[in-house]
Symmetry: C2
């Protein structure tokens, strides 16, 4: 049985080496800053995780997950996202409140409990932030998507997820009136300072990279992000 701490390390590793595209390994410093502990602490812990065959690692090398480590980390994320969904759907919490509560609930281990919860929620595919929920085997299909920063002037895009789960960010998204599945048009894009003017439900907003880097979108016409065949 894994401890809270070990589970948090594995979860962070999934986020850094699987969800972050183009990377399948990570260094001690980056993992440390992700977990807000010191590199020395990670150095120690990674040795323990290696001893349990949860990570691949050699002194002064990079860290990556083994198959077992990946599955364990995925299960933590499955639990996190299912609890977030429960809190929003059944207990009427807003999407900016659920993450913090799920940080505790994700460490309740029972497989049976989480599978019953999944069933109770009618097997949701996405959590309140638009993130895909890993299945009972810890498998996940990460849909194609790009950040709003990558969209071009004139694009019509649909928001599918948010990257930042902090309540400050989500409350700002609420303030703008943006909801998952909403469509928006990129009216202006200022290369100089990267400010973008978007139009949502008839209203225009000027937003900064702090916002656009944390919004995931797909093309509203073909619903794809990459390999979009639309003419724009």
């Amino acid at each position: 049985m894994l401890s809270f701490t070990e589970e948090n390390y594995l979860k962070a590793l999934v986020q850094l080496t699987i969800f972050e595209d183009g990377k399948d390994e990570v260094g001690v410093n980056k993992l440390a800053s992700c977990l807000t502990v010191k590199p020395a602490t990670v150095s120690d812990m990674v040795r323990k995780l290696k001893a349990k065959s949860l990570v691949n690692y050699e002194k002064y090398g990079k860290i990556s997950l083994t198959a077992v480590g990946k599955k364990s980390g995925m299960m933590v994320i499955r639990r996190h996202r299912l609890w977030e969904t429960f809190l929003q759907e059944k207990l009427d919490f807003s999407w900016d409140e659920v993450h913090e509560l799920a940080e505790e609930l994700e460490h309740i281990h029972s497989q049976k409990l989480i599978n019953r919860l999944d069933q109770f929620l009618d097997f949701p595919a996405f959590d309140p932030h638009g993130d895909a929920i890993p299945n009972v085997d810890g498998e996940i299909v990460i849909p194609f998507r790009k950040t709003l920063s990558e969209a071009k002037k004139g694009d019509v895009v649909k928001i599918v997820a948010v990257k930042d789960n902090s309540s400050e960010f989500l409350q700002y998204v609420d303030k703008i009136g943006l909801v998952i599945q909403d469509e928006m048009t990129i009216k202006e894009k200022e290369e100089f300072d990267s400010l973008i003017t978007i139009k949502i439900k008839g209203k225009q907003h000027v937003v900064s990279p702090r916002f656009t880097d944390n919004i995931f979108v797909v093309c509203a016409k073909c619903l794809k992000a990459k390999d979009c065949t639309c003419k724009h």
Copy 2:
């Protein structure tokens, strides 16, 4: 914020000094065996709890809860019993499965979460084992009741709760076909070995103190246990 361990100490103290009638303090050894740790461990921890003003205690003396300690302990029990109710009502767990899961869930701290859960369950008064659920202020009314062992030959009683929450015990209760709120008649009572013959739903069963000590009942006629005015 209290740790898991501190919460478990306070919960155990509520059970030993408030729910167990006739006692408002407990010794180190009894608390230790209740928590399945060694007396030395309790000795240390009780000093820490006293430093936090959660218990009253003097070296070589008995342990009792302060008002703050009692409320904290009650809140743990509130969370435990509400989660048990959720697991049974919403996730279809049987009453012999819920206790173990609630042992983990009871340590999720958010007041808002537990109050929302309470509302979602429509403010249940009792948990799956017939135990009263403390209210939002940690207050509880423990209803009058006696153990089945205390019933006399000829009594007609109604089961209101079980004392033992272990799955072995609860599965035995299931096997006999007994459900909370069921009525039964005491047909025979053998003083020699304390075996009792009960009749439930037309069927007779011979049961031992291991069973009767762990079943709480009230008189089926007046619904009281103590001060029963019925003529039997």
